[in-house]
């Protein structure tokens, strides 16, 4: 599919040029033309008041798409513990399966050595079945070992959708598998839909997208994979129309887990992986868990985050006292992390953790788009900033314009009195 400008319809108004995020449109004489920089992002189509721009469908030879069914979730385990993102994906898989029809099942793909005990965990979080591949060489993640076993399983059982957590392991494995299978992969998704109606409802409520061309009655159940790009400045919904499986990595902390139910049962399909030493061209010499405790930002109900506005490393002492008082976890902006005041593990945002707490306090944080990308889905955002123009106020439910060093001690002092009295 290519985006083209019909030169006879173009009036030369240049509106499309400023709409294009990729500088892909130029004037040639009196008409606009699209150059090779075009990424087919569609931004210009609606920008043309004369309907001169459209998408041209290429003649595709469709693969046998119907041969593929069910949803697979790569059940990522480290040291015998299932990653939270995998639980979230099982929950999301259930929701997708429901709108795809009762014949669609959700499978967990569990790889490792002696990990059978996790089968029940996968079931409890929503798996109908578990593909279990146990082998000595799979005990620790390696690109070569996991790619080989997983691709062979996909070729054999033909899932329609495969989801991976966008972790350092998922983002190492998934592109490799996609390349070997010659199928598409969408990176770091924050929303998935299989129903045009649901996508349209979402787009109308939360986005600036012109939804007039979306047909809510469509029976098409293509996976619509929505993700941030351009440092969070642009959202794109990606489809994979001609090849299967449809694959996506999904950002941790975004999807909802199902209620854990240990009475749920899953069928087990055992896979005998054919792996030998020479298949794996890397050797893991050692795995080091950083001594510092994992800061569980993605599970926190209350987060108190500090930014460059704290001014010094000492500022995080105040944040810790505040967090202890409200029963929260300390977060930070990248500027605070880059200044060396706090470890990266606390960073919220596009290159840190995505969080969705009940309450998010942003203290001395300006509200850069990359920071917002990681916290704007919080139920309630409270911003404290000296600058009344700070962009963080645009997403805050409650704003205080003031000096955090004066406000926060007052909050700490009054918290118990107000919160714990009738």
């Amino acid at each position: 599919m290519a985006v083209v400008i019909k030169s006879e319809a173009c009036k030369g108004c240049k509106l499309c040029i400023s709409a294009c995020p990729f500088e892909a449109i130029e004037m040639q004489g009196k008409v606009a033309v699209i150059t090779e920089k075009c990424t087919a992002c569609n931004q210009c189509i609606d920008a043309c008041p004369f309907h001169a721009i459209s998408r041209e469908a290429a003649n595709l030879k469709e693969a046998d798409l119907d041969a593929y069914k069910d949803i697979w979730v790569f059940a990522e385990q480290r040291d015998g513990r299932l990653m939270n993102v995998s639980k979230e994906l099982l929950g999301e898989g259930r929701r997708l399966a429901e709108s795809m029809g009762s014949d669609t099942k959700v499978y967990a793909v569990l790889m490792g050595d002696a990990v059978e005990n996790l089968v029940q965990t996968c079931a409890a979080y929503g798996a109908d079945g578990v593909y279990l591949a146990e082998e000595m060489h799979l005990s620790h993640y390696t690109t070569d070992g996991y790619t080989k076993v997983l691709t062979e399983m996909i070729e054999c059982y033909k899932p329609e959708i495969v989801l991976y957590g966008a972790t350092h392991i998922g983002r190492d494995l998934a592109p490799r598998v996609a390349a070997r299978l010659n199928t598409g992969l969408t990176a770091d998704c924050t929303r998935l839909d299989v129903s045009v109606a649901a996508y349209k409802a979402y787009a109308e409520k939360y986005t600036t997208l012109d939804t007039s061309t979306l047909d809510a009655a469509s029976q098409d159940r293509t996976l619509l994979q929505t993700r941030p790009a351009f440092g969070g400045n642009l959202m794109a919904t990606i489809v994979c129309p001609k090849t299967r499986p449809q694959m996506a990595t999904v950002r941790p902390g975004v999807m909802q887990q199902c209620e854990k139910d240990m009475t749920r049962k899953a069928s087990v399909i055992r896979i005998q992986p054919a792996l030998c030493e020479t298949d794996i061209r890397t050797e893991v010499i050692e795995v080091v868990k950083q001594a510092k405790a994992m800061v569980s930002l993605s599970d926190a109900e209350i987060i108190v985050s500090g930014g460059r506005g704290l001014g010094t490393e000492e500022g995080f002492k105040l944040m810790e006292t505040f967090a202890a008082k409200v029963g929260g976890t300390v977060g930070a902006s990248r500027a605070a992390v880059d200044a060396g005041w706090i470890d990266h593990i606390h960073q919220v945002g596009q290159t840190g953790t995505t969080v969705k707490p009940k309450v998010y306090f942003a203290c001395g944080i300006s509200g850069a788009i990359q920071h917002l990308a990681g916290m704007q889905d919080s139920d309630l955002v409270i911003a404290i900033n000296r600058d009344p123009e700070a962009p963080i106020f645009e997403v805050a439910d409650f704003s205080i314009v003031g000096d955090l060093y004066k406000i926060i001690p007052q909050l700490i002092e009054s918290w118990d009195d107000i919160m714990y009295t009738a």
Partner: protein, 270 residues
Amino acid sequence: MAFKIVVCVKQVPDTNEIKIDPIKKTLIREGVPSILNPDDANALEAALQIKDELPETEVTVISMGPPQAKAMLTECMAMGADRAVLLSDRALGGSDTWATSNALAAGIQKLGGCDLIFAGQQAIDGDTAQVGPQIAEKLALPQVTYVSKIETVGSLSDASHTMTVVRTLEDGYERIKVQIPCLITAIKTLNEPRYMSVRGIFDALQKEVTVWQAADLGVDATEVGLDASPTNVYRSFTPAVKGRGQQITGDTDRELAVNLLQALKSKQIV
């Protein structure tokens, strides 16, 4: 025998400088500079550090992009790369990561292969982090991603032909020994990229950037470009902003704090 290293570099808009037009809800690209993708500067630096140790090493930078990317490639040569190749053709436009990696893998093969490939972990515009691993797959090479340290590089005379690197994880790191040839993707903490030197700039300006088209690479429309790409952009939009909530008022800091807590309490969230 000299080491041959290829570094994959991409020209990107500085997404930090991009703003959204609040009325038209479109990205404002005007005046936004194009830069060398930040992770790719770390990738290039890693290659140049090997060249510092083993001066025989030949470092080639390769990029796929429009003709304007030549300027960035010249900058890479001014930093110390020996030569630069640009894959540029209308037929390559609109490639997704699968198609991009086909083109780059074909370019690297046309160069006669190499001992080591460095790429950035992630480009700041497409943001997928998929191109590095997909090039490795297409060239059937082992890969190590999220590399924050290179400990040893076995010389080619050394029978072991391996290198040892540190790969970061969310909760720590792993030390990995990988067979050479291989592909490594660099993250920001790998090193501090050097600046161009005056001498380097002078030398780079004497050199040509080699430009190859799709036909030179021997790839066709089933492998590269928009139509070959398995993924397509279905819709795109700028993220909505939630809108301002309530500003807490009060004459003193204490009043502000008390009023906020009262408002919070009335929401019955905490």
